[in-house]
Symmetry: C2
Subunit: 228 residues, 2 copies
């Protein structure tokens, strides 16, 4: 079997976590079938391929399922191991990349998501936490990029993919809340980075259209509020 045959990705165009493996597969020039879930329901394929979490994304490679976005991205980097590499080769640099990718999930995504279902002071507090995380990532960009275009240096790497996959949602949040989260004044490093990342060949056709995503976000926010 050719190395890039029989690759399926179960996901949705709206999910930042699904964008991660899509960008990784694009970087490696691997063709894949994108099997989209319907919002609000879970397909038999999803339930069967990720019975523990029942969540997208799931990569199914030659019939073998892999779940959890960061784990899928590492798998893609290891299976299709020829350049460009997504993780650096030095063990300490790899640890730093994994660390900052986990900061994106723990410190940025968690409050950002919770803010969507919140109101008033609670919403403000959660948005402040997300802004604080962006401040940490601005600093990390200075260190990790070493003056180059991306967190990963000259190429898009693990942290770029982890954080960059949220750029569509960041734009939606900026519009919804009437405030900039990433801009030239507060976060000059990330501002330039976001433009370069969004325009990258592996990314530009995967990043969702902001107007369409804004519309979807209203559906999602209504659903999150129902749950509370």
């Amino acid at each position: 079997m050719a190395k890039d045959e029989d690759v399926k990705l179960v996901g949705s165009w709206t999910s930042p976590f699904v964008m991660r493996p899509r960008i990784a597969l694009n970087i490696k020039s691997v063709h894949y079938d994108f099997i989209q879930e319907t919002f609000g329901s879970k397909s038999p394929l999803l339930l069967q391929s990720n019975p523990v979490h029942k969540k997208i994304p799931v990569l199914i490679h030659a019939g073998k399922p892999i779940a959890e976005s960061s784990i899928i991205v590492e798998y893609i980097d290891e299976f299709w191991s020829s350049a460009p590499s997504i993780l650096p080769s030095d063990p300490y640099d790899r640890a730093l990349a994994r660390f900052w990718a986990s900061v994106v999930d723990q410190k940025f995504f968690t409050p950002m998501k919770a803010s969507m279902g919140a109101e008033g002071e609670a919403k403000k507090g959660l948005m402040n936490q997300a802004v604080e995380a962006i401040g940490l990532l601005e600093e990390a960009f200075g260190t990790l990029s070493r003056g180059k275009a991306f967190f990963g240096g000259d190429h898009i790497g693990f942290v770029d993919i982890a954080f960059g996959s949220f750029l569509g949602w960041i734009r939606v949040a900026e519009i919804s809340n009437g405030m900039k989260l990433i801009d030239a004044a507060k976060t000059p490093g990330l501002d330039g980075w976001a433009q370069r990342f969004s325009a990258h060949d592996a990314v530009k056709d995967v990043l969702p259209d902001t107007a369409k995503l804004l519309e979807f976000s209203k559906l999602l926010a209504a659903k999150l509020k129902e749950k509370h």
Copy 2:
């Protein structure tokens, strides 16, 4: 500099997350200074070496800090790369190991920890979630071990370390709640595994004494209840 010089681990004997790098360093026969934090306070060294999370464990190798237990274990496996390996070499097997290690944290640790500060029905519900996670891990043991001693096969691997580091706390929870979580009847695979893991040379001097840990757990439970 010799490869195993200048290794410090900031941690505490009570923390399952700190046990992970300790076991990994033992597996690789790397000597390290174990710098213990005092319960209830955070040292300047900890704050300075993990300013983002301010949490143990932190590995400081030749002056460079690395945080987050799973990331540290991967670093140890990659830097001291000679056998025995902690992660398997096949990309799919590596993905499975990372997946099940993350299941330990998300599905077992999260409700287990929350149960310590809870009472009555809430506590029961959380304990049931932890028991359910142990059931998933019993199944995973059957698949991953392929009939051998450990999740990692003949050797202790990534999932063994991730889950095995909780064995001390599991024993404490069994005593506190008057119920077995891992036993020969309900979880025969994990029952034998837990005995083999606890007796392993890289583990036996690191696993905390159950009576001492039980005493400490009472302090911790009181503190968690204060917070609620």
